[in-house]
Symmetry: C2
Subunit: 130 residues, 2 copies
């Protein structure tokens, strides 16, 4: 049976405050008020909380993974300049899980990740040119 530790509560509440954050960002946030909490504990709790469906795990294709306070299915846009994650609302292609592949294969899910440049980074780029 899973226990309701102080550390787990603090990690969950950090994810809910930060909305989209990496394990390291969550650890830094948590450690600010509770310096004793280790990064390993943050990782272990992020894993458990995602398995429980209390948060969701955003698997990036480069750099660190992110954790999301929202658990409803939706896709993300990641800025290739700063790494930040943004929600892509109003789009979820559930039917993609039923694509016809060789019988024998079992499709269990799919990931969609958009790449782009966020407003802030676009702005910084323009300034550099000038």
């Amino acid at each position: 049976m899973q226990r309701n530790t102080f550390q787990r509560q603090v990690v969950l509440s950090a994810v809910q405050t930060l909305c989209h954050a990496t394990a390291d960002e969550i650890h830094r946030f948590v450690a600010a008020s509770h310096p004793g909490i280790s990064k390993a504990t943050v990782y272990r709790n992020l894993g458990l909380l995602s398995e429980n469906g209390q948060i969701s795990h955003i698997e990036a294709t480069s750099g660190a993974d992110y954790f999301d306070c929202t658990t409803s299915p939706h896709y993300h846009l990641q800025c290739t300049e700063c790494g930040k994650i943004f929600d892509v609302p109003f789009l979820y292609l559930g039917e993609l899980n039923h694509i016809p592949v060789d019988p024998g294969f079992t499709v269990t899910g799919h990931t969609v990740l958009f790449k782009g440049v966020c407003a802030l980074c676009n702005n910084n780029k323009e300034r550099k040119i000038k």
Copy 2:
């Protein structure tokens, strides 16, 4: 100007032979006949060849990335048991790059990766149960 080194030719030909392979698999394949070629060189050439559009880079969400001998746009299915990559033909959602997001954002591309269990691994699982 880019040079046409022996090592680069060997790496390209390995990717074309293996079709879907990780840097490590490509290095092992290459090293079998040319033991002098280092893994760093394999990585550097895989990077250059993808930039040139001679091969493509499959960014995985866990474990090692793969390199693909094909360069036409298509998605992949990765087996969560063995990590192998399979093509998902006849499906490319180019229109996804035009999803409406906040103005200021620039969407430059998207990744779709299916997760599932391949025929071979499904088979192995069944045997374990019995």
